[in-house]
Protein backbone atom coordinates (compact mmCIF):
# COMPACT_ATOMS: atom_id res chain seq x y z
CA UNK A 1 0.00 0.00 0.00
CA UNK A 2 1.08 3.58 -0.57
CA UNK A 3 2.72 5.23 2.44
CA UNK A 4 0.46 7.17 4.77
CA UNK A 5 0.45 10.91 4.04
CA UNK A 6 -0.12 13.84 6.35
CA UNK A 7 -3.34 14.75 4.53
CA UNK A 8 -4.65 11.19 5.06
CA UNK A 9 -4.16 11.62 8.80
CA UNK A 10 -5.88 15.02 8.73
CA UNK A 11 -8.86 13.51 6.89
CA UNK A 12 -9.14 10.57 9.28
CA UNK A 13 -8.98 12.91 12.29
CA UNK A 14 -11.88 14.89 10.87
CA UNK A 15 -13.91 11.69 10.31
CA UNK A 16 -13.18 10.59 13.88
CA UNK A 17 -14.12 14.03 15.26
CA UNK A 18 -10.66 14.74 16.66
CA UNK A 19 -8.77 18.00 16.30
CA UNK A 20 -5.02 17.58 15.94
CA UNK A 21 -2.37 20.26 16.31
CA UNK A 22 0.25 20.65 13.58
CA UNK A 23 2.80 18.89 15.79
CA UNK A 24 0.39 16.02 16.49
CA UNK A 25 -0.29 15.65 12.77
CA UNK A 26 3.43 15.20 12.13
CA UNK A 27 3.86 12.78 15.01
CA UNK A 28 0.79 10.67 14.21
CA UNK A 29 1.68 10.49 10.51
CA UNK A 30 5.03 8.98 11.44
CA UNK A 31 3.73 6.63 14.15
CA UNK A 32 0.67 5.38 12.27
CA UNK A 33 2.81 5.01 9.15
CA UNK A 34 5.10 2.63 11.05
CA UNK A 35 2.19 0.51 12.25
CA UNK A 36 0.67 0.35 8.75
CA UNK A 37 4.04 -0.54 7.30
CA UNK A 38 4.17 -3.45 9.74
CA UNK A 39 0.64 -4.39 8.62
CA UNK A 40 1.75 -4.56 5.01
CA UNK A 41 2.79 -8.17 5.72
CA UNK A 42 -0.87 -9.10 5.69
CA UNK A 43 -2.04 -6.51 3.16
CA UNK A 44 0.28 -8.23 0.68
CA UNK A 45 -0.99 -11.79 1.29
CA UNK A 46 -3.04 -13.58 -1.32
CA UNK A 47 -6.06 -14.68 0.69
CA UNK A 48 -8.52 -15.24 -2.09
CA UNK A 49 -11.14 -17.77 -1.08
CA UNK A 50 -10.44 -17.45 2.66
CA UNK A 51 -13.62 -16.68 4.59
CA UNK A 52 -13.47 -13.68 6.96
CA UNK A 53 -13.99 -14.25 10.71
CA UNK A 54 -15.72 -11.46 12.59
CA UNK A 55 -16.42 -13.49 15.71
CA UNK A 56 -14.40 -16.39 17.13
CA UNK A 57 -17.22 -18.90 17.56
CA UNK A 58 -19.61 -17.58 14.97
CA UNK A 59 -22.59 -17.15 17.29
CA UNK A 60 -25.43 -15.74 15.22
CA UNK A 61 -29.02 -14.70 15.77
CA UNK A 62 -29.19 -14.89 19.55
CA UNK A 63 -32.86 -14.21 20.25
CA UNK A 64 -35.17 -14.22 23.24
CA UNK A 65 -38.89 -14.09 23.84
CA UNK A 66 -40.34 -10.64 23.18
CA UNK A 67 -41.41 -9.90 26.73
CA UNK A 68 -40.96 -6.98 29.11
CA UNK A 69 -37.93 -7.08 31.37
CA UNK A 70 -36.74 -4.53 33.90
CA UNK A 71 -34.37 -1.92 32.49
CA UNK A 72 -32.62 1.17 33.77
CA UNK A 73 -34.89 4.00 34.83
CA UNK A 74 -34.89 7.09 32.64
CA UNK A 75 -34.01 9.29 35.60
CA UNK A 76 -30.97 7.17 36.53
CA UNK A 77 -29.67 7.39 32.98
CA UNK A 78 -30.32 11.10 32.51
CA UNK A 79 -28.72 11.86 35.89
CA UNK A 80 -25.32 11.21 34.32
CA UNK A 81 -25.88 13.27 31.16
CA UNK A 82 -23.93 16.53 30.79
CA UNK A 83 -27.23 18.26 29.98
CA UNK A 84 -30.81 17.02 30.23
CA UNK A 85 -34.26 18.53 30.49
CA UNK A 86 -37.85 17.30 30.34
CA UNK A 87 -36.76 13.67 30.20
CA UNK A 88 -34.44 14.21 27.23
CA UNK A 89 -30.73 14.67 26.56
CA UNK A 90 -29.83 18.28 25.85
CA UNK A 91 -27.48 19.24 23.01
CA UNK A 92 -26.35 22.50 21.44
CA UNK A 93 -28.34 23.72 18.46
CA UNK A 94 -28.02 21.65 15.31
CA UNK A 95 -29.28 24.17 12.72
CA UNK A 96 -28.58 27.85 12.24
CA UNK A 97 -31.06 30.71 12.61
CA UNK A 98 -34.04 30.64 10.25
CA UNK A 99 -33.40 32.99 7.31
Amino acid sequence: MAPLRREDVAKVAKLARLKLSEAELDQFTEQLGQVLEHANDIAALNLEGVVATAHPFGLINVVREDELRPSLSRDAVLAMAPDAEDGRFGVPRIMGEAP
Binding site: K19, H38, A39, A43, P56, V77, A81, V91, P92, R93
Partner: protein, 470 residues
Protein backbone atom coordinates in the same frame (compact mmCIF):
# COMPACT_ATOMS: atom_id res chain seq x y z
CA UNK B 1 -9.07 -19.85 49.63
CA UNK B 2 -7.92 -19.65 53.22
CA UNK B 3 -9.52 -16.27 53.96
CA UNK B 4 -12.93 -17.45 52.76
CA UNK B 5 -12.88 -20.62 54.86
CA UNK B 6 -11.65 -18.67 57.90
CA UNK B 7 -14.47 -16.15 57.47
CA UNK B 8 -17.03 -18.91 57.06
CA UNK B 9 -15.76 -20.75 60.16
CA UNK B 10 -15.62 -17.58 62.24
CA UNK B 11 -11.81 -17.73 62.66
CA UNK B 12 -11.71 -14.21 61.23
CA UNK B 13 -14.30 -11.69 60.04
CA UNK B 14 -14.85 -10.08 56.68
CA UNK B 15 -14.60 -6.70 58.40
CA UNK B 16 -11.15 -7.54 59.81
CA UNK B 17 -9.94 -8.74 56.39
CA UNK B 18 -11.34 -5.60 54.80
CA UNK B 19 -9.52 -3.45 57.38
CA UNK B 20 -6.17 -5.11 56.73
CA UNK B 21 -6.67 -4.72 52.97
CA UNK B 22 -7.42 -1.04 53.52
CA UNK B 23 -4.25 -0.70 55.59
CA UNK B 24 -2.14 -2.32 52.85
CA UNK B 25 -3.68 0.00 50.25
CA UNK B 26 -2.94 3.08 52.38
CA UNK B 27 0.62 1.94 52.98
CA UNK B 28 1.67 1.91 49.31
CA UNK B 29 -0.97 3.55 47.13
CA UNK B 30 0.73 6.96 47.02
CA UNK B 31 3.94 5.33 45.88
CA UNK B 32 2.46 2.86 43.36
CA UNK B 33 -0.75 4.60 42.14
CA UNK B 34 -2.74 1.36 42.06
CA UNK B 35 -6.21 2.40 43.25
CA UNK B 36 -7.93 5.28 41.45
CA UNK B 37 -10.79 5.08 43.93
CA UNK B 38 -10.85 3.28 47.28
CA UNK B 39 -14.47 2.43 48.04
CA UNK B 40 -14.17 2.43 51.82
CA UNK B 41 -17.89 2.85 52.48
CA UNK B 42 -18.92 0.18 50.00
CA UNK B 43 -16.27 -2.21 51.31
CA UNK B 44 -17.41 -1.80 54.92
CA UNK B 45 -21.03 -2.45 53.93
CA UNK B 46 -20.13 -5.50 51.83
CA UNK B 47 -17.96 -6.92 54.64
CA UNK B 48 -20.68 -6.41 57.24
CA UNK B 49 -23.23 -8.16 55.04
CA UNK B 50 -20.89 -11.16 54.83
CA UNK B 51 -20.36 -11.19 58.59
CA UNK B 52 -24.14 -11.03 59.10
CA UNK B 53 -24.59 -14.03 56.82
CA UNK B 54 -22.01 -15.94 58.87
CA UNK B 55 -23.70 -14.89 62.14
CA UNK B 56 -27.06 -16.13 60.85
CA UNK B 57 -25.50 -19.49 60.02
CA UNK B 58 -25.95 -18.98 56.27
CA UNK B 59 -23.42 -20.03 53.63
CA UNK B 60 -21.45 -16.82 53.17
CA UNK B 61 -20.14 -17.89 49.76
CA UNK B 62 -17.05 -19.25 48.02
CA UNK B 63 -15.30 -15.89 48.37
CA UNK B 64 -16.66 -14.99 51.82
CA UNK B 65 -14.87 -11.89 53.03
CA UNK B 66 -12.18 -11.93 50.35
CA UNK B 67 -11.12 -8.38 49.39
CA UNK B 68 -10.99 -7.91 45.64
CA UNK B 69 -9.72 -5.14 43.34
CA UNK B 70 -11.66 -4.26 40.19
CA UNK B 71 -10.22 -2.91 36.97
CA UNK B 72 -11.64 0.53 36.32
CA UNK B 73 -13.43 -0.56 33.13
CA UNK B 74 -15.92 -2.63 35.15
CA UNK B 75 -19.12 -0.74 35.91
CA UNK B 76 -20.13 -0.63 39.57
CA UNK B 77 -23.22 1.22 40.74
CA UNK B 78 -22.40 4.57 42.28
CA UNK B 79 -18.62 4.00 42.17
CA UNK B 80 -16.55 6.30 39.93
CA UNK B 81 -15.59 4.33 36.81
CA UNK B 82 -13.25 6.02 34.35
CA UNK B 83 -11.59 3.31 32.22
CA UNK B 84 -8.44 5.36 32.86
CA UNK B 85 -9.82 8.22 30.74
CA UNK B 86 -10.59 11.89 31.35
CA UNK B 87 -13.65 11.50 29.16
CA UNK B 88 -15.36 9.45 31.91
CA UNK B 89 -14.05 11.43 34.87
CA UNK B 90 -16.76 11.71 37.52
CA UNK B 91 -19.11 9.24 35.81
CA UNK B 92 -21.11 7.01 38.17
CA UNK B 93 -22.44 3.86 36.47
CA UNK B 94 -26.16 3.22 36.95
CA UNK B 95 -25.70 -0.57 36.91
CA UNK B 96 -23.30 -3.33 37.97
CA UNK B 97 -21.27 -5.45 35.60
CA UNK B 98 -22.41 -9.10 35.79
CA UNK B 99 -18.99 -10.12 37.18
CA UNK B 100 -19.46 -7.66 40.05
CA UNK B 101 -22.91 -9.05 40.83
CA UNK B 102 -21.37 -12.52 40.89
CA UNK B 103 -18.40 -11.75 43.15
CA UNK B 104 -20.73 -9.90 45.54
CA UNK B 105 -23.11 -12.87 45.62
CA UNK B 106 -20.11 -15.11 46.41
CA UNK B 107 -19.24 -12.90 49.40
CA UNK B 108 -16.24 -11.02 48.00
CA UNK B 109 -15.59 -7.47 49.24
CA UNK B 110 -14.82 -5.01 46.40
CA UNK B 111 -12.19 -2.54 47.68
CA UNK B 112 -12.37 -0.12 44.78
CA UNK B 113 -11.25 0.57 41.25
CA UNK B 114 -7.70 0.10 40.00
CA UNK B 115 -5.67 1.84 37.35
CA UNK B 116 -5.35 0.77 33.72
CA UNK B 117 -4.16 2.00 30.36
CA UNK B 118 -6.77 4.37 28.97
CA UNK B 119 -9.65 2.24 27.62
CA UNK B 120 -7.31 -0.77 28.05
CA UNK B 121 -5.13 0.44 25.17
CA UNK B 122 -1.59 -0.18 26.25
CA UNK B 123 0.85 -2.68 27.67
CA UNK B 124 2.32 -0.75 30.60
CA UNK B 125 -0.46 1.24 32.35
CA UNK B 126 1.43 4.38 31.31
CA UNK B 127 -1.38 5.58 29.02
CA UNK B 128 -3.76 6.09 31.96
CA UNK B 129 -4.96 9.69 32.20
CA UNK B 130 -4.38 9.38 35.95
CA UNK B 131 -0.66 8.64 35.79
CA UNK B 132 1.25 5.37 35.55
CA UNK B 133 1.08 2.53 38.05
CA UNK B 134 4.40 1.23 39.32
CA UNK B 135 5.44 -2.40 39.70
CA UNK B 136 5.40 -3.30 43.43
CA UNK B 137 8.35 -5.67 42.91
CA UNK B 138 10.50 -2.84 41.50
CA UNK B 139 8.86 0.60 41.42
CA UNK B 140 11.22 1.83 38.68
CA UNK B 141 9.47 -0.63 36.35
CA UNK B 142 6.02 -0.90 34.84
CA UNK B 143 3.55 -3.51 36.10
CA UNK B 144 2.56 -4.29 32.51
CA UNK B 145 -0.81 -3.48 31.07
CA UNK B 146 -3.41 -2.76 30.40
CA UNK B 147 -4.56 -4.37 33.68
CA UNK B 148 -1.51 -3.04 35.55
CA UNK B 149 -3.52 -1.87 38.55
CA UNK B 150 -5.18 -5.28 38.91
CA UNK B 151 -1.77 -6.99 38.89
CA UNK B 152 -0.12 -4.47 41.23
CA UNK B 153 -2.96 -4.69 43.76
CA UNK B 154 -2.33 -8.42 44.21
CA UNK B 155 1.47 -8.24 43.94
CA UNK B 156 1.53 -5.52 46.64
CA UNK B 157 -0.72 -7.66 48.89
CA UNK B 158 -3.45 -5.03 48.84
CA UNK B 159 -6.02 -7.66 47.85
CA UNK B 160 -5.53 -11.43 47.39
CA UNK B 161 -7.28 -11.38 44.01
CA UNK B 162 -8.49 -9.02 41.34
CA UNK B 163 -10.32 -8.81 38.05
CA UNK B 164 -8.88 -7.48 34.81
CA UNK B 165 -9.69 -7.67 31.12
CA UNK B 166 -7.63 -9.13 28.28
CA UNK B 167 -8.06 -8.01 24.67
CA UNK B 168 -4.56 -8.82 23.39
CA UNK B 169 -2.71 -9.90 26.53
CA UNK B 170 -3.83 -7.32 29.07
CA UNK B 171 -4.22 -9.87 31.89
CA UNK B 172 -1.44 -12.33 31.03
CA UNK B 173 1.37 -9.83 30.42
CA UNK B 174 0.89 -7.87 33.70
CA UNK B 175 0.52 -11.20 35.54
CA UNK B 176 3.90 -12.20 34.10
CA UNK B 177 5.50 -8.86 35.03
CA UNK B 178 4.18 -9.04 38.61
CA UNK B 179 4.72 -12.75 39.34
CA UNK B 180 1.04 -13.78 39.36
CA UNK B 181 -1.32 -16.22 37.71
CA UNK B 182 -3.50 -14.36 35.18
CA UNK B 183 -6.13 -15.95 32.98
CA UNK B 184 -7.65 -15.02 29.62
CA UNK B 185 -10.70 -17.28 29.58
CA UNK B 186 -12.34 -18.75 26.49
CA UNK B 187 -14.25 -16.03 24.64
CA UNK B 188 -17.81 -16.04 25.96
CA UNK B 189 -17.08 -17.97 29.16
CA UNK B 190 -17.39 -14.77 31.22
CA UNK B 191 -20.10 -12.20 30.58
CA UNK B 192 -18.91 -8.85 29.25
CA UNK B 193 -22.05 -7.06 30.43
CA UNK B 194 -20.84 -3.94 32.21
CA UNK B 195 -17.31 -4.12 30.81
CA UNK B 196 -16.53 -0.85 29.05
CA UNK B 197 -15.93 -2.03 25.49
CA UNK B 198 -12.57 -1.76 23.71
CA UNK B 199 -12.69 -4.46 20.97
CA UNK B 200 -15.83 -6.48 21.55
CA UNK B 201 -14.88 -9.60 19.57
CA UNK B 202 -11.62 -9.93 21.57
CA UNK B 203 -12.35 -8.59 25.09
CA UNK B 204 -12.65 -11.06 27.97
CA UNK B 205 -12.72 -10.49 31.73
CA UNK B 206 -10.50 -12.75 33.82
CA UNK B 207 -8.88 -13.29 37.21
CA UNK B 208 -5.53 -12.46 38.81
CA UNK B 209 -4.34 -14.37 41.88
CA UNK B 210 -1.15 -15.54 43.56
CA UNK B 211 -1.71 -19.15 42.53
CA UNK B 212 -3.63 -21.36 40.12
CA UNK B 213 -6.11 -22.59 42.74
CA UNK B 214 -7.27 -19.10 43.73
CA UNK B 215 -7.46 -18.00 40.09
CA UNK B 216 -9.55 -21.09 39.28
CA UNK B 217 -11.88 -20.30 42.17
CA UNK B 218 -12.45 -16.71 41.05
CA UNK B 219 -13.00 -17.81 37.45
CA UNK B 220 -15.53 -20.41 38.60
CA UNK B 221 -17.45 -17.63 40.40
CA UNK B 222 -17.59 -15.23 37.44
CA UNK B 223 -18.07 -17.75 34.59
CA UNK B 224 -21.33 -19.05 33.16
CA UNK B 225 -24.08 -17.88 30.85
CA UNK B 226 -25.53 -14.40 31.19
CA UNK B 227 -28.61 -13.42 29.17
CA UNK B 228 -27.39 -9.80 29.26
CA UNK B 229 -24.45 -10.65 26.96
CA UNK B 230 -25.50 -12.23 23.68
CA UNK B 231 -21.93 -13.46 23.08
CA UNK B 232 -21.94 -15.34 26.38
CA UNK B 233 -21.66 -19.11 25.87
CA UNK B 234 -25.01 -20.77 26.59
CA UNK B 235 -23.69 -23.11 29.27
CA UNK B 236 -23.11 -23.09 33.05
CA UNK B 237 -19.75 -22.33 34.70
CA UNK B 238 -17.32 -25.25 34.45
CA UNK B 239 -15.92 -26.99 37.51
CA UNK B 240 -12.30 -25.82 37.77
CA UNK B 241 -10.99 -25.95 41.35
CA UNK B 242 -11.67 -29.69 41.56
CA UNK B 243 -9.33 -30.25 38.59
CA UNK B 244 -6.37 -28.15 39.75
CA UNK B 245 -4.50 -31.18 41.04
CA UNK B 246 -5.21 -33.38 38.01
CA UNK B 247 -1.60 -33.15 36.85
CA UNK B 248 -0.40 -33.50 33.25
CA UNK B 249 0.35 -37.22 32.98
CA UNK B 250 -0.47 -38.40 29.48
CA UNK B 251 -1.01 -34.86 28.14
CA UNK B 252 0.78 -33.80 24.96
CA UNK B 253 2.20 -30.33 25.39
CA UNK B 254 3.45 -28.48 22.34
CA UNK B 255 6.30 -26.00 22.74
CA UNK B 256 5.53 -23.48 20.03
CA UNK B 257 8.55 -21.80 18.46
CA UNK B 258 6.55 -18.70 17.44
CA UNK B 259 5.48 -18.24 21.06
CA UNK B 260 9.00 -17.67 22.36
CA UNK B 261 11.37 -16.88 19.48
CA UNK B 262 12.75 -13.38 19.75
CA UNK B 263 12.22 -13.28 23.51
CA UNK B 264 15.12 -12.40 25.81
CA UNK B 265 17.41 -15.29 26.74
CA UNK B 266 16.34 -15.16 30.38
CA UNK B 267 12.73 -15.72 29.27
CA UNK B 268 13.51 -18.49 26.77
CA UNK B 269 15.52 -20.32 29.45
CA UNK B 270 12.45 -20.47 31.71
CA UNK B 271 10.22 -21.73 28.89
CA UNK B 272 12.71 -24.57 28.33
CA UNK B 273 12.85 -25.30 32.04
CA UNK B 274 9.02 -25.31 32.20
CA UNK B 275 8.87 -27.82 29.34
CA UNK B 276 11.30 -30.06 31.24
CA UNK B 277 9.22 -29.76 34.41
CA UNK B 278 6.05 -30.77 32.56
CA UNK B 279 7.91 -33.71 31.00
CA UNK B 280 9.08 -34.78 34.47
CA UNK B 281 5.44 -34.71 35.58
CA UNK B 282 4.46 -37.16 32.88
CA UNK B 283 3.56 -35.00 29.89
CA UNK B 284 4.85 -35.69 26.39
CA UNK B 285 6.62 -32.64 25.00
CA UNK B 286 6.42 -32.01 21.27
CA UNK B 287 8.04 -29.14 19.39
CA UNK B 288 5.65 -27.31 17.12
CA UNK B 289 5.91 -24.47 14.65
CA UNK B 290 2.85 -22.38 13.77
CA UNK B 291 4.10 -19.80 11.23
CA UNK B 292 0.65 -18.12 11.06
CA UNK B 293 1.18 -16.77 14.58
CA UNK B 294 3.68 -14.30 13.11
CA UNK B 295 0.80 -12.55 11.36
CA UNK B 296 -1.19 -12.15 14.57
CA UNK B 297 0.27 -8.81 15.58
CA UNK B 298 -0.60 -7.10 12.30
CA UNK B 299 -4.09 -8.57 12.21
CA UNK B 300 -4.71 -7.56 15.81
CA UNK B 301 -3.52 -3.97 15.35
CA UNK B 302 -6.06 -3.57 12.53
CA UNK B 303 -9.01 -5.47 14.04
CA UNK B 304 -8.79 -4.11 17.60
CA UNK B 305 -8.47 -0.43 16.55
CA UNK B 306 -11.26 -0.88 13.97
CA UNK B 307 -13.61 -2.17 16.66
CA UNK B 308 -12.39 0.50 19.08
CA UNK B 309 -13.01 3.32 16.62
CA UNK B 310 -16.61 2.16 16.44
CA UNK B 311 -17.04 1.44 20.18
CA UNK B 312 -15.56 4.80 21.19
CA UNK B 313 -17.83 6.76 18.87
CA UNK B 314 -20.29 6.75 21.79
CA UNK B 315 -18.15 9.28 23.68
CA UNK B 316 -19.71 12.29 22.04
CA UNK B 317 -20.51 14.51 25.01
CA UNK B 318 -24.24 13.77 24.87
CA UNK B 319 -25.24 10.92 27.17
CA UNK B 320 -22.50 10.67 29.80
CA UNK B 321 -19.03 11.80 30.64
CA UNK B 322 -17.22 14.92 29.62
CA UNK B 323 -18.75 17.67 27.49
CA UNK B 324 -16.77 20.61 26.18
CA UNK B 325 -19.28 23.20 25.01
CA UNK B 326 -19.11 24.63 21.51
CA UNK B 327 -21.42 26.46 19.16
CA UNK B 328 -23.02 23.44 17.50
CA UNK B 329 -23.23 19.68 17.99
CA UNK B 330 -20.42 18.71 15.62
CA UNK B 331 -18.04 21.24 17.17
CA UNK B 332 -19.09 20.07 20.65
CA UNK B 333 -18.39 16.41 19.70
CA UNK B 334 -14.95 17.34 18.38
CA UNK B 335 -14.01 19.59 21.30
CA UNK B 336 -15.16 16.92 23.79
CA UNK B 337 -13.26 14.05 22.17
CA UNK B 338 -10.14 16.12 21.60
CA UNK B 339 -10.01 17.15 25.27
CA UNK B 340 -11.19 13.82 26.69
CA UNK B 341 -9.03 11.24 24.92
CA UNK B 342 -5.29 10.76 25.41
CA UNK B 343 -2.73 10.27 22.65
CA UNK B 344 -2.78 6.47 22.56
CA UNK B 345 -6.57 6.34 22.31
CA UNK B 346 -6.50 8.93 19.52
CA UNK B 347 -3.87 6.88 17.67
CA UNK B 348 -5.98 3.74 17.84
CA UNK B 349 -9.22 5.49 16.87
CA UNK B 350 -7.45 6.97 13.86
CA UNK B 351 -5.80 3.69 12.92
CA UNK B 352 -9.17 1.94 13.09
CA UNK B 353 -10.99 4.67 11.20
CA UNK B 354 -8.32 4.51 8.49
CA UNK B 355 -8.43 0.68 8.28
CA UNK B 356 -12.21 0.84 7.85
CA UNK B 357 -12.29 3.75 5.39
CA UNK B 358 -13.22 3.45 1.73
CA UNK B 359 -10.25 2.41 -0.38
CA UNK B 360 -8.40 0.75 2.50
CA UNK B 361 -11.06 -1.54 3.98
CA UNK B 362 -10.27 -4.55 1.78
CA UNK B 363 -6.50 -4.20 2.05
CA UNK B 364 -6.40 -3.80 5.81
CA UNK B 365 -9.52 -4.72 7.81
CA UNK B 366 -10.80 -7.26 5.26
CA UNK B 367 -7.40 -8.99 5.08
CA UNK B 368 -7.09 -8.98 8.87
CA UNK B 369 -10.43 -10.80 9.24
CA UNK B 370 -9.21 -13.45 6.80
CA UNK B 371 -5.94 -13.81 8.70
CA UNK B 372 -8.10 -14.36 11.76
CA UNK B 373 -9.67 -17.36 10.03
CA UNK B 374 -6.20 -18.66 9.18
CA UNK B 375 -5.20 -18.23 12.80
CA UNK B 376 -8.15 -20.30 13.99
CA UNK B 377 -7.32 -23.03 11.43
CA UNK B 378 -3.66 -22.96 12.51
CA UNK B 379 -4.64 -23.47 16.15
CA UNK B 380 -6.91 -26.33 15.13
CA UNK B 381 -3.99 -28.05 13.37
CA UNK B 382 -1.72 -27.45 16.37
CA UNK B 383 -4.28 -29.06 18.68
CA UNK B 384 -4.12 -32.23 16.58
CA UNK B 385 -0.49 -32.54 17.63
CA UNK B 386 -0.79 -31.31 21.21
CA UNK B 387 -3.45 -30.95 23.90
CA UNK B 388 -1.96 -27.72 25.27
CA UNK B 389 0.64 -25.26 23.99
CA UNK B 390 3.51 -23.72 25.91
CA UNK B 391 5.42 -20.52 25.25
CA UNK B 392 6.48 -17.24 26.81
CA UNK B 393 3.90 -14.71 27.97
CA UNK B 394 5.97 -11.66 27.07
CA UNK B 395 9.30 -11.16 25.28
CA UNK B 396 10.93 -9.68 28.39
CA UNK B 397 10.54 -9.21 32.11
CA UNK B 398 8.99 -5.95 33.35
CA UNK B 399 10.63 -3.00 31.57
CA UNK B 400 11.41 0.39 33.07
CA UNK B 401 8.92 3.26 33.05
CA UNK B 402 9.23 5.31 29.88
CA UNK B 403 11.28 2.69 28.01
CA UNK B 404 8.70 2.25 25.26
CA UNK B 405 6.23 5.08 25.79
CA UNK B 406 7.42 7.18 22.85
CA UNK B 407 7.52 4.27 20.40
CA UNK B 408 4.03 2.78 19.89
CA UNK B 409 5.21 -0.05 17.63
CA UNK B 410 7.78 -1.22 20.19
CA UNK B 411 5.03 -1.19 22.84
CA UNK B 412 2.69 -3.16 20.55
CA UNK B 413 5.40 -5.81 20.03
CA UNK B 414 5.25 -6.70 23.72
CA UNK B 415 1.88 -8.40 22.98
CA UNK B 416 3.25 -10.62 20.21
CA UNK B 417 2.91 -13.92 22.11
CA UNK B 418 -0.48 -13.24 23.70
CA UNK B 419 -2.43 -11.90 20.71
CA UNK B 420 -2.98 -15.16 18.74
CA UNK B 421 -5.22 -16.58 21.50
CA UNK B 422 -7.50 -13.53 21.51
CA UNK B 423 -7.91 -13.74 17.73
CA UNK B 424 -8.88 -17.42 18.01
CA UNK B 425 -11.10 -16.94 21.09
CA UNK B 426 -9.21 -19.69 22.92
CA UNK B 427 -8.16 -19.95 26.56
CA UNK B 428 -4.72 -19.10 27.95
CA UNK B 429 -3.02 -18.22 31.19
CA UNK B 430 0.30 -16.94 32.45
CA UNK B 431 1.96 -18.61 35.40
CA UNK B 432 5.13 -17.34 37.09
CA UNK B 433 8.09 -19.65 36.55
CA UNK B 434 11.53 -18.76 37.77
CA UNK B 435 13.21 -15.39 37.79
CA UNK B 436 15.32 -13.65 35.21
CA UNK B 437 18.84 -12.28 35.52
CA UNK B 438 17.72 -9.35 37.67
CA UNK B 439 15.53 -11.42 39.98
CA UNK B 440 12.28 -10.29 38.37
CA UNK B 441 9.59 -12.88 37.69
CA UNK B 442 9.23 -14.55 34.31
CA UNK B 443 5.80 -15.69 33.14
CA UNK B 444 5.30 -18.72 30.95
CA UNK B 445 2.14 -19.02 28.92
CA UNK B 446 -0.07 -22.08 28.64
CA UNK B 447 -2.57 -22.01 25.79
CA UNK B 448 -5.42 -24.39 25.08
CA UNK B 449 -8.51 -24.76 22.94
CA UNK B 450 -11.78 -23.15 23.95
CA UNK B 451 -13.08 -24.56 27.26
CA UNK B 452 -9.71 -26.07 28.24
CA UNK B 453 -9.41 -23.99 31.43
CA UNK B 454 -9.42 -27.04 33.73
CA UNK B 455 -6.41 -28.58 31.94
CA UNK B 456 -4.63 -25.21 31.87
CA UNK B 457 -4.99 -24.80 35.63
CA UNK B 458 -3.76 -28.37 36.19
CA UNK B 459 -0.66 -27.69 34.09
CA UNK B 460 -0.10 -24.36 35.85
CA UNK B 461 -0.28 -26.13 39.20
CA UNK B 462 2.40 -28.61 38.07
CA UNK B 463 4.66 -25.68 37.22
CA UNK B 464 3.98 -23.99 40.58
CA UNK B 465 5.01 -27.14 42.42
CA UNK B 466 8.11 -27.59 40.22
CA UNK B 467 9.05 -23.96 40.94
CA UNK B 468 8.78 -24.50 44.68
CA UNK B 469 5.57 -22.51 45.19
CA UNK B 470 3.10 -23.85 47.73
Amino acid sequence: MQIASDVRSGATTAEAEMASSLEAIRARNDELNVFLFVDEGGAINAARRVDERVARGENAGQLAGVPIALKDNLCQVGVPTTAGSRILEGWLPPYNATVIERVLAAGAVPMGKVNMDEFAMGSSTESSAYGPTRNPLDPSRVPGGSSGGSASAVAADMTPMSLGSDTGGSIRQPAAFCGLVGVKPTYGLVSRYGLIAFASSLDQIGPFAKNATDAALLLEVIAGHDPMDSTSLPEPAPSLVSHVNDGVAGQRIGVVRELYEGADDEVVAEVERAAAALRDAGATIVEISVPEFRLGLSAYYLIAPAEASSNLARYDGVRYGLRVDAEDVAAMNEATRTAGFGAEVKRRIMLGTYALSAGYYDAYYGQALKVRTQMIDAFRRAYQEADLLLGATAPSVAFTLGAKSSDPLAMYLSDVFTIPTNLAGDAALSVPFGTGDTGLPVGVQLVGPGRSEAQLFAAARVLELADGRS
